[in-house]
Symmetry: C2
Subunit: 345 residues, 2 copies
């Protein structure tokens, strides 16, 4: 598919130089805005280049400059099993905002979702990457390190030796706000469901839950659900929790797919949401909003967080070496019917 | 940020050749699976390369091969004004599915949403692109042609001279199904609201509407709304339509943001949805599902369409030259409360 295969030889910088009556260096400087070139000469060279249909070889330029002008959005978290709009979760919302921020700096955003992320992260031409909520010994992060590529994390990295810059998604505060909301709505026996990985959101939520359980005298009930299991795993886990601990009156399911499964399990056990068991989740996406009843969730300010992650990464690409942290704005609980006992219409 | 700036010189192909006691060409052939290399020699070279931490220079490889192994998802359609999950519309749903399909072929997907798409499409290193619902004289398509890059369209291209391969999103059938649904629900004076551009979805919908209006004796009411106006433009347009044509009993608003605005305008005019005025839309995304009442929409099989677009493009990259068309599966109306008069619970 090289242009030369499908027509006459494309014009080269030599053709432009000859037609404009200047040196190749002058053409290069004129077209790249480098060195000193008389403005009228520059204009003439540009006209000649346009007339000849000359396009600089982008790849050769990048090879010289050592830049891809592209960054990747990587994640080791399993993509939602289902297709359709329900795939439009956390990762894609971050992608939309990050793409916009990157393009404002003339960087393209390359999607490296977890399907085959292994091989893709080895082969994609990028200058660096944002790793979404890295797990401990995160596969995506390891591949980037192996390629010598700089990266930043969206969400605090959990590996002890990790000193990469990151955007703090305030996992502990998020869990704390959800648990406090449940307590205000009357919960006295809330359970916690987190992903089985060790991402900051799970680790932070367990820490927040254990502290509150001690403080309020709750019997701690913490369940870890395989991340790739989706709604069905959330359903099964919640059904088992309700069978083993029939007194549970609230479920804080950090992953939205688990929360949707939990609502179904509560119903199938003959209980009502929220009257018998309240359900809340973290990410305020399509799943939370279209669940019946709609799920209480948290505004994580993902637009801002994604944009901060892009800025951190571009800073590193410009040579910032000190590790740094961008802290997201205060998260905010968005209370909905799944947990509103006292203030329902 | 080149690796050489932050540590010892990275190993080169010469280092690998010396350590393995073979020529540079043999190393290159062994690592790239080219030429004839004894399998045991190949294994030994790979081991030496791994031990030395040798990584081939991806950019140099690509320059030689003339491949970026990346494709872009381009669109000239304005991105949703609002941030947050409501930005997760048509474009991002296509992106999620296309990224997965592309990665299965070891291609990365580069997001080139309409923010500054002009400059980004000139500078991103890609082998080709998918243009989402190109307008007449589409800016993204023009930039790709200017760079000599192959592209395919998702949705039939409307420019008369255009002969690029495309995935047919069956715009006429989609509009026809929505209008037939409205008629079944009792509409006798439906109005049509489309984007002001000439994308196939608008052109096809107007054609379908005009034919049906003639067939059923409807007074044709067609409004064209600026694409970048979002919900507010839909609101204002619908309010004006209701003031001018008070007998309207249904609005088919092709763009989901317009439909959400239309629901608000119907209410503010003192009418009820769906009892006085039904509202339906095309794309079954977050907006349609979270609208109050939820909007009747169409399953466009976007997963399949995005995957087909990737296959068409990769076919062109492999050298397929005949224009070709992939036809999406039959679209299907998903009836919801915004237009269910006769079958409501």
């Amino acid at each position: 598919m090289a242009p030369s295969a499908s027509g006459p030889r494309p014009p080269t910088i030599t053709d432009v130089a000859r037609a404009a009556g200047v040196s190749r260096t002058t053409v290069s400087h004129a077209l790249n805005g480098l060195g000193k070139v008389d403005p009228r000469t520059r204009e003439r060279i540009r006209q000649v280049a346009t007339e000849l249909g000359y396009r600089p070889n982008l790849r050769a330029q990048r090879l010289r400059r050592g830049q891809a002008k592209a960054i990747a959005l990587a994640s080791s978290m399993p993509f939602a099993v289902a297709g359709g709009p329900s795939r439009l979760g956390f990762y894609m919302e971050v992608a939309a905002a990050a793409a916009e921020s990157a393009l404002l700096h003339d960087y393209a955003l390359v999607l490296v979702p977890p399907v085959q992320s292994g091989s893709a992260l080895y082969s994609v031409d990028i200058d660096g990457a944002i790793v979404v909520e890295p797990d401990i010994e995160d596969a995506a992060a390891a591949q980037l390190r192996e390629r010598g590529l700089p990266y930043v994390a969206l969400g605090r990295p959990v590996s002890p030796e990790e000193d990469t810059p990151y955007v703090d998604l305030r996992g502990r505060l998020v869990a704390d706000l959800l648990l406090e909301h449940l307590r205000e709505q009357g919960a006295v026996r809330p359970a916690l469901m987190v992903g089985a990985g060790s991402r900051h959101s799970s680790v932070d939520a367990v820490a927040a839950y254990e502290r509150r359980a001690e403080e309020h005298g709750w019997t701690p009930v913490v369940a870890r659900v395989p991340e790739s299991g989706g709604e069905q795993a959330g359903y099964e886990c919640c059904a088992a929790l309700l069978a083993e601990h029939p007194g549970i009156d609230a479920v804080c399911a950090l992953v939205d797919a688990f929360a949707v499964g939990a609502v179904r399990a509560v119903r199938d056990s003959g209980r009502a949401v929220p009257d018998d068991v309240m359900v809340v989740t973290r990410y305020d996406g399509l799943r939370a909003r279209t669940c019946e009843p709609p799920l209480t969730a948290v505004d994580l300010h993902l637009d801002r967080a994604a944009s901060d992650a892009v800025e951190l990464l571009l800073g590193r690409l410009r040579g910032d070496t000190a590790p740094s942290v961008a802290v997201s704005p205060e998260p905010r609980v968005i209370a909905r019917a799944s947990s509103l006992r006292t203030a329902r219409a």
